[in-house]
């Protein structure tokens, strides 16, 4: 059964879901949603995702939204057959959950604010709040310092192996290093930098990049 993923390939949250599906070997069909024309706010889409956000998935009769819930579901479903993205013990899984929460709250909040100011608002003809960008960049730098300390003790965030916690960062860090021009935040931190190089070289992520280009 092919999983239908609704959302544009250019948005971070659909990228997160596709990376996971590719890692665990689940076939999918990407159905684009045109954010520019407001397709995601129209009634037909709101039936799928009541908050008017992307992505949403449809797997037969099963429907789900929120990218981090989707990746948890598929990682758990294919834990036996594919790479173990969730850990094999309860304690390993808790570590993955812990760093997934850090990504969602400490990391993503800052990255999203920066992307909003630097990329989305200008596209809508609105001004960038430079002070806010500076503020968020400084906060993000502090968060990445903590990551650097963590990654000096283990190769991946949750431990010795690549997990959903690392995967979840891929779209956000890509934005930082490319469109936002803040790649220095990554390059200046040795352990974060080698971690980024490792996780962005994974086959599944490279396939997502191919779809993007």
């Amino acid at each position: 059964m092919v999983v239908k993923v609704y959302g544009p390939i250019t948005a971070a949250c659909p990228q997160r879901v596709l990376a996971c599906l590719l890692e665990v070997g689940v076939d999918f069909e990407l159905i684009p949603v045109d954010l520019e024309s407001g397709e995601h706010k129209r009634p037909e889409f709101l039936l799928r995702q009541p908050f008017g956000q992307v992505p949403a998935i449809e797997d037969g009769d099963f429907k789900l939204f929120e990218s981090r819930a989707i990746i948890r579901y598929y990682a758990a479903k294919h834990a036996e057959s594919g790479p173990n993205l969730l850990g094999s013990t309860l304690e390993e899984q808790a570590q993955v959950d812990q760093w997934l929460e850090v990504e969602a709250h400490n990391f993503n909040e800052m990255v999203y604010a920066i992307v909003l100011q630097l990329l989305i608002l200008p596209r809508m003809g609105q001004p960038t709040d430079k002070a806010l960008v500076q503020n968020c960049t400084e906060k993000l730098a502090k968060v990445l310092d903590v990551y650097d300390r963590r990654l000096s003790t283990s190769p991946f965030l949750a431990g010795e192996w690549f997990s959903l916690a690392d995967l979840s960062h891929l779209p956000g860090i890509r934005y930082l290093t490319e469109e936002a021009g803040l790649g220095n935040l990554i390059r200046e931190r040795n352990h974060v930098n080698s971690w980024w190089i490792t996780i962005s070289s994974r086959l599944a992520w490279k396939k997502v990049m191919q779809l993007l280009n």
Binding site: A69, A76, Q98, V102, R150
Partner: protein, 321 residues
Amino acid sequence: MIVVRDVEDLKRCKISVWLSLRMNLQEMGETWARGALLVEEASKIFKDLNIEYCMLPVDVNVRNMPDSISSRFPSNWLLRYTLHIAEEDSAGVGPMTTPVKVYGPPGQPMAASVSRILTCLIEKEVPFELITVNMKTEPKKPQLLRIQSIGQIPAIEDESISLFGSRAICRYIAEKYADQGNKALYGTNPLERASIDQWLEVEGHSFNPPISELVLLLAFGARKKSKQEEAQIKQNEAKLNKVLDIYERRLGDSPYLAGEDFTLADLSHLPNTQFLVTATDRGKLFTLRKNVGRWWADISGRDSWKKVVGMQNSPPPPPGT
């Protein structure tokens, strides 16, 4: 023997307690061991009765000090109180669990993230010990840095793991103790769990940001608001209203967010909604919506939440009195 030594200010009573112990002078080791047990038992009783006590100084051999990452603190460093789930409730459930240590910030009211964790522990009938730590005034102790490298609390520690992030902690507790307490809390199959995860994410990304901002500005902010703050209140109220409109439709289709049962997804909403409803005048955002109002009355009426609210209203005794 109990000797009443003094009554101070008509509200404090100083007593001395003399414990007596029968000893066999031929077996001093055994005697000292029994003496230690007696003293430990006495201190447990004092703790249960909230009696502050102090022991006379003892010479300590420095070569036998506990490990530097011991989690025990001197009593004048922080407030500490214990809540034990009554053992008769968990009769027959299995071996007694070591209490989970929950590290949280001091002061009243309890932080939303802490009450979220405690509610989950109570739902799962897991004994815990709440240890308050003031991360601003306490120097960064190595054992706390190990637990919370982001430098924010809360965090938990049990015999297998140290963990931070209140929603990660709730997931861990619900999964580890899946077979006890509220069994539906994190779903009984993958599809139920996926729905719970979905609404937990919604709570974290769409619900929590506007409501926590509103609570901060309205309940804990200065009485006179600046123009900027007024604008922020308006913005966040509008965002919250949009989310609650969606909840109103969802809760018309099912009794709880993720489906038929009360789950972590609903639980996660309790702390900040409680603040909004009791400490601001915006509670009507919830109570004036038919389905949301019904849902709120239901989840806030649960025993576990009432217990946590009760903990907030009776602060622990201050140290050193």
